[in-house]
C-alpha cells in the first residue's frame, strides 16, 4: 500500500488513477479559467493600450505602484483600511461563532429555524439601502438611538460625523449585517459533531456549559482555524459599498479607505492599468498574510490550508 516515495512521480498518479479522475475536472477548470487568463496580471506592469491588447502594450514596470504610493495621503488610508479590517476581525470574527453556539442551545427547533432565517435577512440588502436607513436611524435629532439617549439624560451624538464613533459604526453595522449569514458554516460544522460525544459527556456528569466547552467547541476548531486564516487575508480589503454610502468629509481621517480614496482620485477611470495595480497590491498583501497565518496554523495545529 505505501510504496516508497522515490518511485517515478508519474507512477503515483497512475497508481491513484481513480482518485486523479475525481480530481481531473477541478484541475482542468482551474487551468482553463484561472491560469490561462492569468497573463492579465501583467496589465499592472504595463501601459495598457486598448487596441494593442494586453500582450502588445508596452511595459511600464513599477510605475503604477510608484504612482499609488506617491498619492498624497495614501499611507493614511492604507492605515485606515488595515485598522478597520482589524477591528472587524477582532470583533467580527467571533460574533458568528458565538451566534452559532448560542443558537445551538435553543431547544425549540421551530424557534431556532425562524431566528436563523430572520437573522440573515440583512445580508441580502445592499448598503445603498442600509446606509439610508442607518443615516436616519443614527440622526442626532430624529434618530431613535439619540432619542433614547436624550431620554436617559445624555447628550445626542452625531455618530456618522464623529471621528470617535465612525469606525465603531462601520464595524458594528457590518457585524450585524452578516451575523446570521456568517454563522451558517459554523452551524453546519456543529451538525457534524458526533452526537455520541455529547452522550458520553452527559454520562460523565457534564452540564450544558461543560458540554459546550469540551464537545461543541472542539468540534468547531477545524472550521474556526480555516475561517480565521481566510479572515486574516481580508485585512487588506475594504468594503467600498459600505464606506462610500456611510462616510462624509467629517470622518475622512478615520473612515477613508483605499477603495474610496482611489475612487475619488478618479484614476481608475483613466487608467485600467492603475486599477489593476491597486488590486494586485492588495492581493499580494493578502496572499502574504494568508501564507504567514497558514504557517502558524501548521505549526500549532493539525488544520491549515495546505
Amino acid at each position: 500500500m505505501n510504496s516508497p516515495r522515490r518511485s517515478h512521480p508519474l507512477g503515483n498518479y497512475w497508481r491513484h488513477r481513480k482518485l486523479m479522475l475525481l480530481f481531473l475536472p477541478g484541475v482542468l477548470y482551474y487551468i482553463v479559467f484561472h491560469y490561462s487568463p492569468m497573463y492579465g496580471v501583467t496589465i499592472a506592469f504595463k501601459d495598457y493600450h486598448i487596441l494593442k491588447g494586453i500582450n502588445g502594450s508596452p511595459w511600464a514596470g513599477l510605475e503604477h505602484f510608484r504612482m499609488l504610493f506617491a498619492l498624497k495621503g495614501f499611507w493614511d488610508v492604507f492605515t485606515n483600511t488595515i485598522l478597520i479590517s482589524f477591528y472587524k476581525l477582532v470583533f467580527g470574527f467571533p460574533a458568528p461563532i458565538l451566534f452559532a453556539l448560542l443558537l445551538n442551545e435553543l431547544r425549540s427547533i421551530l424557534f431556532k429555524r425562524v431566528i436563523q432565517t430572520v437573522s440573515y435577512l440583512p445580508h441580502f440588502i445592499s448598503w445603498v439601502i442600509l446606509a439610508g436607513i442607518f443615516i436616519q436611524f443614527l440622526s442626532p435629532s430624529i434618530g431613535p438611538v439619540n432619542i433614547a439617549l436624550k431620554s436617559l439624560g445624555f447628550e445626542p451624538v452625531y455618530f456618522l460625523a464623529d471621528s470617535n464613533w465612525f469606525r465603531t459604526i462601520l464595524v458594528s453595522t457590518d457585524i450585524w449585517k452578516d451575523l446570521g449569514w456568517g454563522s451558517i458554516i459554523y452551524l453546519a460544522a456543529l451538525a457534524g459533531v458526533h452526537p455520541e460525544l455529547y452522550e458520553a459527556a452527559r454520562v460523565d456528569g457534564a452540564n450544558r456549559f461543560a458540554q459546550a466547552k469540551y464537545v461543541t467547541l472542539p468540534g468547531l476548531v477545524p472550521t474556526i482555524i480555516i475561517m480565521f486564516i481566510f479572515a486574516v487575508g481580508k485585512l487588506i480589503t475594504d468594503d467600498f459599498d459600505q464606506v462610500f454610502n456611510l462616510y462624509n468629509a467629517a470622518v475622512y481621517d478615520v473612515g477613508d479607505v483605499i477603495s474610496t480614496y482611489t475612487y475619488r482620485s478618479g484614476l481608475e477611470n483613466m487608467q485600467y492599468s492603475f486599477a489593476t495595480a491597486v488590486g494586485l497590491f492588495k492581493n499580494i498583501i493578502a496572499f502574504v498574510l494568508v501564507v504567514a497565518t497558514n504557517q502558524i496554523a501548521r505549526r500549532y495545529s493539525d488544520y491549515s490550508l495546505w
Binding site: 494586453i54 500582450n55 460625523a161 467629517a250 477611470n269 501548521r298
Partner: protein
C-alpha cells in the same frame, strides 16, 4: 516533515507558474485585439494623421455617402435598458436612411467597463457613446475613436454644427471637442440655463414677518435667523433651521466663489489669472460668516451628512421635511411649478415630493435672487456648458469615410426641423404623437408633441429610449427658447447669477492630488464652520493645500489658461 514539503512545493509552484505565465503569455491566441492590428499606426496620435490631410475637396468626396448603398452602422447610445425586440423607431430610421443599424447594448451604469470590454474584444462601434471626459480623451489618444474634419461635418451635418455653434461659445466647443481642426466628439450640452436654485419657504417668510424676498446678504441673514428663532412653522418646537449644506452655494456666491455641495473644487478668473476659488480670501470671509451662523444655531447641525437622505439625488429631505427654510439643492428645474394647465402636468421633483407631505408649503415656494454680498457680488453655482463625455466616431470609420458621411447625415436629422426633432424624440408623427396646443401658465399656448393612442402610457418611461427614439437618435438636446419652461426660467432669473468653474480641462497632475486635496479642503471647511477650528486656521489650510500638491495644480492651471488666450 510538513515544512520541507511545503517550501519545496512553494518553490516548485513558483517555477511552474513562471513557466505557465510565459508560455501562455507568448502564445496567447485569445487576445484578439493585438492580432487584428494591420499596422502600427495606432501608436501615433490619431489626430496627427488627419491634421496632415486638411479638409480638401478630395476629403469632402471621400466622405460622401455612396448613393444606394445600404450601410451597416454599429451604434451605442445612452441606454438604461436594452433595445426592445422589433424596436419601432429602429426600423423606421433604417428605412428612412437605407441603413442597417446594429445596436450594441451598453448599459449606462456600467458603460465604461462594458465599452472597454467590447473594444478589447475587437468590437468598436461606429457611433461611440462615452460618458466621461477621461474615457473620451483615452479613446481618442489610443485611437479607438477618430476625428472628422470640421468642414466635412459642416457639409454633412450642417444643422447639427449650427446648433452646437449657436449654443456654445467657440472656446468651449474647441477645448472639449476639436483637435487640429477635427471634430473628435459631439458634446452633450449641459443645461446652461439651469443653475443652483435659490428657494425660500414663502409661508415661513410670511410667518416671521418678512414681506420682501431677501436680496442682500444682510436680509438673507435676517431671514435665516428668524427661521431658526421665531418658530416659523408654528409648532411651538425649536426644530427649524435657516439652511443646510446645499444652501452654502448662495453664501459663497455672495462672495464670488462658486461652490456646490457636489462640486466643491472650482477655479475662477481673478485679475486675469485663473486661481483656485476655494482658497481665496473671499472664501475665508464666507466661511467666517457660516461659522458665526453655525454657532448661533442657524445652520442645521446635521449639515455634514447633507440634505438628501437617499433616493433621487436632487431631493432635499431637510427642506421637504420642514427642517430648513432655504435651500440651493438640486437644480432650478427640480423646483419648478407645473408649466401647463393640462391634467397630466407635473411639477419639478422636489415640489412633487413636497406636495405629498405639505401641499401648502409646496405651493408657497418662492424663487429669489442670489443675495448680494458686501462687495456687490452675487451668484450661485452653475453647471458647465458641456457635460462629460459625448458621442465619438469609432476607429472603423477611418477606413470607411463614406460611412462616416452617412452617419453624420443621420445625426443631423433631428436638427433639420421641429418635426424631425420630435420624430427622433417621440416617434412617428400622428401615429405615436401629435401636436397639441397646450395652455401654459403664462396664458399663451404652446405647441408640444404629446403622445397619442396606446403610446400615452409610454410617457415618462424609458420605452421610447428602448425603441430607438430619444437618446438613441439625438446626440444632444437644445432647449426651445420659446417653451414655457424657458419662459418660466427667465422669469425667475434663471439665466442670471451664474458662477461657474472656469477650468475646462483636466489638469495633468490632477488625479495624483485630487483625493488628498479634496480631503484637506473638506475637513478644513467643516471644522471652520463647526467652530472646531478658528477662522484663522484658514491660512493654515491654504498652506497645507498648496504643500499637498495644490501649488503644482495652480501652476498647471495657469499654463492651461495661458494656452487658451
Amino acid at each position: 516533515m510538513h515544512k520541507k514539503n511545503g517550501s519545496k512545493a512553494l518553490s516548485g509552484l513558483l517555477v511552474a507558474l513562471a513557466l505557465i505565465l510565459v508560455a501562455v503569455g507568448c502564445t496567447s491566441k485569445t487576445d484578439n485585439a493585438s492580432s487584428s492590428q494591420p499596422q502600427a499606426s495606432q501608436q501615433t496620435n490619431a489626430g496627427d494623421e488627419q491634421a496632415a490631410e486638411g479638409a480638401t475637396a478630395a476629403d469632402q468626396d471621400k466622405y460622401a455617402p455612396i448613393e444606394g448603398k445600404k450601410y451597416e452602422i454599429s451604434w451605442t447610445y445612452y441606454q438604461l435598458a436594452p433595445l426592445a425586440d422589433n424596436a419601432i423607431m429602429k426600423k423606421y430610421f433604417e428605412d428612412l436612411f437605407n441603413v442597417s443599424i446594429n445596436v450594441m447594448n451598453v448599459d449606462y451604469n456600467s458603460s465604461e467597463q462594458i465599452l472597454n470590454l467590447k473594444v478589447a474584444g475587437g468590437e468598436i462601434p461606429d457611433k461611440l457613446n462615452v460618458i466621461s471626459d477621461a474615457q473620451k480623451i483615452n479613446f481618442f489618444n489610443q485611437g479607438v475613436a477618430v476625428g472628422i474634419p470640421l468642414d466635412v461635418v459642416r457639409t454633412y451635418a450642417p444643422n447639427m454644427m449650427r446648433e452646437l455653434e449657436e449654443n456654445l461659445p467657440a472656446d468651449i466647443l474647441d477645448s472639449c471637442c476639436i483637435r487640429d481642426g477635427n471634430l473628435i466628439a459631439i458634446p452633450q450640452l449641459g443645461k446652461p440655463m439651469f443653475r443652483d436654485p435659490i428657494v425660500w419657504r414663502g409661508d415661513w417668510l410670511k410667518s416671521v414677518g418678512i414681506t420682501k424676498v431677501p436680496e442682500t446678504l444682510e436680509e438673507f441673514e435676517d431671514a435665516v435667523y428668524k427661521f431658526t428663532k421665531n418658530d416659523p412653522d408654528g409648532n411651538n418646537r425649536n426644530d427649524t433651521y435657516g439652511l443646510s449644506k446645499s444652501g452654502f452655494s448662495a453664501v459663497f456666491g455672495a462672495f464670488g466663489i462658486p461652490w456646490d455641495f457636489q462640486v466643491t473644487t472650482n477655479w475662477i478668473v481673478k485679475d486675469n489669472q485663473l486661481v483656485y476659488a476655494q482658497i481665496q480670501p473671499e472664501a475665508k470671509e464666507a466661511l467666517a460668516l457660516l461659522g458665526k451662523w453655525y454657532k448661533d444655531g442657524v445652520i442645521d447641525p446635521e449639515f455634514i451628512t447633507g440634505e438628501n437622505t437617499g433616493g433621487y439625488w436632487a431631493l432635499s429631505h431637510a427642506f421637504i421635511n420642514n427642517r430648513i427654510g432655504f435651500t440651493s439643492h438640486g437644480q432650478t428645474y427640480h423646483w419648478s411649478p407645473r408649466m401647463t394647465k393640462s391634467a397630466d402636468a407635473v411639477p419639478g421633483q422636489d415640489i412633487a415630493e413636497m406636495e405629498k407631505l405639505n401641499p401648502e408649503g409646496a405651493a408657497s415656494i418662492v424663487h429669489g435672487d442670489a443675495p448680494i454680498g458686501p462687495s456687490g457680488v452675487r451668484g450661485v453655482f452653475s453647471n458647465p456648458l458641456v457635460t462629460q463625455g459625448g458621442n465619438m466616431f469609432g476607429k472603423g470609420l477611418a477606413d470607411e469615410p463614406d460611412k462616416a458621411g452617412k452617419l453624420l447625415q443621420m445625426l443631423d436629422y433631428p436638427y433639420q426641423s421641429l418635426d424631425n426633432m420630435n420624430t427622433a424624440l417621440n416617434g412617428i408623427k400622428d401615429e405615436m404623437w401629435a401636436y397639441q396646443e397646450v395652455e401654459t401658465i403664462f396664458g399663451n399656448t404652446e405647441k408640444t408633441a404629446v403622445p397619442i393612442g396606446q403610446y400615452v402610457e409610454w410617457k415618462g418611461t424609458d420605452k421610447l429610449n428602448t425603441n430607438f427614439a430619444h437618446t438613441a437618435m439625438i446626440p444632444f438636446t437644445v432647449t426651445d427658447k420659446d417653451s414655457a419652461t424657458y419662459q418660466w426660467h427667465a422669469q425667475i432669473k434663471g439665466d442670471q447669477f451664474h458662477l461657474a468653474n472656469e477650468l475646462l480641462a483636466p489638469l495633468p497632475s490632477e488625479a495624483k492630488f485630487k483625493a488628498e486635496l479634496s480631503k484637506i479642503q473638506e475637513q478644513a471647511y467643516i471644522s471652520i464652520i463647526t467652530g472646531e477650528k478658528p477662522v484663522a486656521y484658514f491660512d493654515e489650510f491654504v498652506k497645507q493645500w498648496r504643500a499637498a500638491g495644490g501649488a503644482e495644480l495652480e501652476k498647471e492651471a495657469a499654463e492651461w489658461y495661458a494656452s487658451t488666450r
